[in-house]
Structure formats: structure tokens, C-alpha cells
């Protein structure tokens, strides 16, 4: 399912890669990114579209919100609810 996140992040070293890395590491796949610095060059606005395998995107949004470089997170609501996959043991 496709999701869209609107993010404002501080324009500091590592902030973009930290955010994108988290999305992929938590099992989602980025399909589109729009990123631009604001006028004062202090912050960046990101619009990220991504697909998931059924894990809840709301949990991902909360995980992103914990990053210290992230100022705000808005997950654009989608109509269909996420369907949790059958999780299995790690090993």
C-alpha cells in the first residue's frame, strides 16, 4: 500500500540519511522523495512516498518522530487499514 509522509527536519549532518535509512530498515520501500531547504537554510521539508508490506505506517511515523533531527511528522491518512502480516520468529 502507498503512504505519504510530510516531514520537517533540521538541516544538519546526517538528518536525511537517518530518516530514509529508518524507513527502509523498518521494512518500507521509498518510491518518491521531494526535498527542499527552507529559506533560512535551517530546515528541510520532505515529502516521502513509500510502500509497505503490511506493517502499520502509524508505527513507522512514531519511529521517525523519535529522531532528534525531525521537527514534525504528518502521515497522510489512507482509507484502507493496514493488514498486519503473519510475523514469525527472528530465528
Amino acid at each position: 500500500m502507498n503512504h505519504t509522509l510530510n516531514l520537517t527536519i533540521e538541516k544538519v549532518e546526517g538528518a536525511i540519511i537517518r530518516t530514509l535509512g529508518l524507513i527502509e530498515r523498518r521494512g518500507f520501500s521509498v518510491t518518491s522523495i521531494d526535498a527542499r531547504a527552507n529559506e533560512g537554510d535551517q530546515e528541510m521539508e520532505l515529502v516521502i512516498q513509500f510502500t509497505g508490506t503490511g506493517r502499520p505506517a502509524e508505527v513507522l511515523a512514531r519511529q521517525i518522530d523519535k529522531l532528534f533531527d525531525v521537527k514534525s511528522v504528518h502521515l497522510v491518512p489512507t482509507k484502507a487499514p493496514a493488514v498486519a502480516p503473519a510475523e514469525s520468529m527472528a530465528c
Binding site: 549532518e13 546526517g14 535509512g21 529508518l22 508505527v59 523519535k66 529522531l67 532528534f68 503473519a86 510475523e87
Partner: protein, 549 residues
């Protein structure tokens, strides 16, 4: 004042008394500044030993553990310990030297992008590119490491920044933030769930001690008389002899604990995270239970299990708001019966040393002892059979399962609490992962006791190969181990060996009564397994017991 001195001053202002580390080229300015500081530097013999000792120190004190390494290999050697702290939510501040900013990104000698390498395993990280940022960054690093759900923070300091003269000195104070309190509507829902429950279970995790909520948890468990199970990290949240305590749940948990959870109609999860080693197959975990999830970390809510009520905030405040008048006597009786039915037995036949009984006796002989554990079969035996009166007595690498944790963690704990008796329980596989830290014990004359359980094999992997790989043993035979008694003695640590059950009582006495460090080498049957066991991919209803008595 140079940047390196500013950094050391910042550490002093944070109240740091110990730094665990290892010097090298890029961090030399900081080591120079340390000479003039009251901070005591503990020289590990490998950077992994340093960071794991900082982890053990942090778990015992509740204050951040600080470690330090140089750039490149020094920094990469910290990675396992940083990941360990991340998985177990331990406040660690790791400071790495870095090559000068002018050559960063040129593949300079001993250059590694440790900021990039550690990004997935830190709570936050910084590269300090301007000397004037040092006070702010250090202040933020300590704040972030301890605030809310704790975790490791990396500060990468290029050598030229460390050598730059700074004009200013003031260091910001720590920002104090009150933990949020749970939403009143969610509290109301949670109260309703508890009042309606017939078979409630308290499922306590490592978050209880991290949140300083042990007293509140005990008070709620005592007042409500709801049966308690804990995770590996939650052990000691109630004393393990408490009449409400069912045991540890999960893969190597107590059968009574797992049965109570599987039968429950309400799980009150307090500072735990539905880890796969605790839940077994997730879709069959506590299948009839509603869930109240209490945590400080919003991203844990609904991550693996839907929460019918999510109480985000201070655990103690949430617990105090829960009802205690419950009419669930039938359930209490059923749980008490299961507790009796599945109590551990120590009457193993034969003359070989029975490790569960040995560990039970050790912990009974020294009830206040801190036990730092390594990883493997002995770790599970410690969790099952040692008694803990408080969680800080039990240091274990739960989330990452880091073999080699036990000795460094014991060192950190012993330095943090020099008056306490500290025991490292290790295995013949694990001890070899950080064997060099025996020299750190010697160097600082630490009275750390070491119980080495030797089955001449990589026991847990061997057990899985026996059970799940048709006894096809692959690279688990460690019978070519060195003579551990001679090894310990060569490090200047007294050591002795036992091989028979009749020697156990004497060995415990010798271990605990020896002044200074001592290593007891306990040889056991290589075929000994840990029971019970929930096979991977199964629900916690499926607990394998010993196949042959």
C-alpha cells in the same frame, strides 16, 4: 582552552567519574587532557571491553556509562557494544576520535565514517565540526542518552577540533524534562479492562527499572495480587521468590509463566516490548487476551501487538492509577497451582555437576550479589535458577545476545559498586570473546568473581543442532579450549577447577570467600541442555521438556 580540554570539562560537569577506553592517534588530545582531570580512565584491552564495561556501569548506577576510542578500528570495535546498549535501552555515551576535518572523506589513515556506520544503532549521534559546539553537544548527548527511553549516543570528534583553542567555556546544564503522564481517556479504558478481567497477568519488562518504577510495580502487584511474569530484563522487578511471581516467560521461560500468559484474558504489559524470545510465535501469543501497554516510548505501541489501552508516560503514575480491588480468586488459585506444579526440580540423577542447582545455591549463598551474565545456555540457567531481589542485580545482554558481555559488564559493575559482591557467570565460548579483559581485572585489582561453566562446546548452538538439525553438529566442538585455570593464573587471577557434584559446595564457598578476583572452572557434560524450550516458530503452548532423564 583546547577542544579536548573542553570536552573533558564537559564530562566532569556531567558528573562522570569513570571513562572506559583505549587511546590511539585521533583521540590523543583527549587522552592528554584526561591526565589533568579527576575523571578516572579505565584502560580496557579491547574497545569492545570498554563499551561493554560502560554498559554494565550504566545498568548498575542508572547513570550514563562513558567510553572512548580512537578513529577507524578503535571506533569500529565499539560497534557491538553500542548495538548492545541500543537493544537493551542502556544510556551510554561513546566518544570517538576522528581524523582531522580537512581529510575526512579522503580515506585517510584510520578513517572510518563511524557516524554513518552506527546510525541504525544509536539513539542519536553527532560529528563535532566546530570547537564552540562541544559544550552544547556534550550536554545534549547526556540528555538524550538518559531522557525517556535511554540509549547510546555517539560523539565523533575530529582531531583538529580537539586541538583548536576555544575562547568560551560555559557548559549548559542538563535539560530536565518531566516524563509525560498517560492520557486520561486511555487510563479510563485501562481501568475498565482490569475491572472486567477474569484472568489478568502483569507482564513486566526492563522498562520498570529504567523508569525507576520498581517500587510502584511491586506496590501494584502486591495490592492487586495479579500474577506476575517478567521478561529476561524484567527479572527482579518483583523478588523472584515473591508468591505472585510465576517466572520468566518465553522461549526458556517457566512453564507456569507461559501457561498463565496463554490462558490470560488481559495482559498488562509494563515496560516490555513483545520481543520474539518472550512471545514465541506472535499470532499465538496470549490469544484470548486484551492488552494494556504501558511504556514511555510511543513507537512501541502497536509495533508487534495491538494495544487496547496505551498508557504512554511515567510507569509509576500509570500503575498508581490502576484498580486493585479484583475479584479473581479462582484465577489466583489456578496460577498458584501451576506455580507448584511447574516448580523447578533440582534432583537430577548422576554425579555430574548440575548447573541449575549450582547456580541456585550460589545465589542463595550471596542474596545481594550482582550477577553479570554472558550469553548462551548458562545465561538461561542464571535467569531460571538464580534469585534476584532487584533488577540491578542481573546484568544480561538480552536484546543483542552479545557473547563476551559478562566479564566487561562485571568490571563495570564492580567499579560502580566497589563494596558489592559481583559475579560473572560465563561459558567456555563466551569467555574467549573478551578474554583479554582478565587483564583489566588484574590491572585495577577488582575483586570480581568468575564462574566459568565449561561444556567444551558452543552449548546453545549445539543444543539446537541436536534438536532441530538432526544431530548434525557443525563447528560447535570447543574441546580444544585452553586450560582455563592456567590461563587465569597467567593473568594473575587465582583459579581452580571442579568436575564432580560433591565438589560444588566447597567451590561455592571458595568462590565467594576468596578476597580479590577468582575464577572457578566448572566442567560439565557437553550434552547438557536447557529446558524447557519453545521451538522457534512455535507458540508458547509448545514447551519441549528434557527428552531423556
Amino acid at each position: 582552552m583546547k577542544g579536548a580540554q573542553l570536552l573533558v570539562k564537559a564530562l566532569e560537569q556531567q558528573g562522570v567519574d569513570y571513562v572506559f577506553g583505549y587511546p590511539g592517534g585521533a583521540i590523543m588530545p583527549v587522552y592528554d587532557a584526561l591526565i589533568d582531570s579527576p575523571i578516572r580512565h579505565i584502560l580496557a584491552r579491547h574497545e569492545q571491553g570498554a563499551v561493554l564495561a560502560a554498559d554494565g556501569y550504566a545498568r548498575v548506577t542508572g547513570r550514563p556509562g562513558v567510553c572512548m576510542a580512537t578513529s577507524g578500528p578503535g571506533a569500529t570495535n565499539l560497534v557491538t557494544g553500542i548495538a548492545n546498549a541500543y537493544m537493551d535501552s542502556v544510556p551510554v555515551v561513546a566518544i570517538t576520535g576522528q581524523v582531522p576535518t580537512a581529510v575526512m572523506g579522503t580515506d585517510a589513515f584510520q578513517e572510518v565514517d563511524i557516524f554513518g556506520v552506527t546510525m541504525p544503532i544509536v539513539k542519536h549521534s553527532f560529528i563535532v565540526r566546530r570547537v564552540e559546539d562541544i559544550p552544547r553537544v556534550l550536554s545534549e548527548a547526556f540528555h538524550i542518552a538518559t531522557d525517556g527511553r535511554p540509549g547510546p549516543v555517539l560523539v565523533d570528534l575530529p582531531k583538529d577540533v580537539a586541538n583548536t583553542e576555544a575562547k568560551m567555556a560555559p557548559v549548559f546544564g542538563m535539560k530536565a524534562r518531566q516524563a509525560p503522564t498517560a492520557d486520561p481517556e486511555q487510563l479510563r479504558i485501562a481501568r475498565g479492562l482490569i475491572e472486567a478481567a477474569d484472568r489478568p497477568v502483569l507482564y513486566g519488562g526492563g522498562g520498570i527499572v529504567i523508569a525507576n518504577a520498581v517500587d510502584a510495580f511491586r506496590e501494584y502487584a502486591r495490592a492487586s495480587r495479579i500474577p506476575v511474569v517478567t521478561t529476561l530484563k524484567g527479572l527482579g522487578a518483583v523478588p523472584t521468590r515473591d508468591e505472585n511471581f510465576m517466572g520468566m516467560l518465553g522461549m526458556h521461560g517457566n512453564r507456569a509463566a507461559n501457561r498463565a500468559v496463554q490462558e490470560s484474558d488481559l495482559l498488562i504489559c509494563v515496560g516490555a516490548r513483545f520481543d520474539d524470545r518472550a512471545t514465541g510465535r506472535l499470532d499465538g501469543f496470549a490469544p484470548r487476551a486484551r492488552v494494556i501497554h504501558m511504556d514511555i516510548d510511543p513507537s512501541e505501541i502497536g509495533k508487534l501487538r495491538h494495544a487496547d489501552a496505551a498508557l504512554l508516560g511515567d510507569l509509576a503514575v500509570s500503575l498508581a492509577a490502576m484498580p486493585t480491588e479484583l475479584y479473581v480468586d479462582n484465577w489466583r488459585v489456578w496460577c498458584a497451582e501451576r506455580r507448584r506444579e511447574h516448580a523447578w526440580r533440582y534432583d537430577a540423577p548422576g554425579e555430574d555437576i548440575y548447573v541449575p542447582d549450582l547456580l541456585r545455591k550460589v545465589s542463595e549463598a550471596a542474596p545481594d550479589m550482582v550477577i553479570a551474565c554472558d550469553v548462551g545456555q548458562h545465561q538461561m540457567w542464571v535467569a531460571q535458577h538464580c534469585h534476584f531481589n532487584r533488577p540491578q542485580q542481573h546484568l544480561t545482554s538480552a536484546g543483542l545476545g552479545t557473547m563476551g558481555y559478562g566479564i566487561p559488564a562485571g568490571i563495570g559493575a564492580q567499579l560502580a559498586r566497589p563494596e558489592a559482591r559481583v559475579l560473572t557467570v560465563t561459558g567456555d565460548g563466551s569467555i574467549m570473546m573478551n578474554l583479554q579483559e582478565l587483564q583489566t581485572i588484574r590491572r585495577y585489582e577488582l575483586p570480581l568473581k568468575i564462574l566459568l561453566v565449561d561444556n567444551a562446546s558452543l552449548g546453545m548452538v549445539r543444543q539446537w543442532q541436536e534438536l532441530f538439525h538432526s544431530e548434525r553438529y557443525s563447528e560447535v566442538d570447543l574441546s580444544d579450549n585452553p586450560d582455563f585455570v592456567e590461563v587465569a593464573k597467567s593473568f594473575g587471577i587465582p583459579a581452580f577447577r571442579i568436575t564432580r557434584r560433591a565438589e560444588v559446595d566447597g567451590a561455592i564457598q571458595r568462590l565467594l570467600e576468596t578476597e580479590g578476583p577468582v575464577l572457578a572452572h566448572v566442567c560439565i557434560d557437553p550434552k547438557t541442555n536447557v529446558w524447557p524450550l519453545v521451538p522457534p516458530g512455535q507458540t508458547n503452548d509448545t514447551m519441549m521438556e528434557e527428552l531423556s532423564a
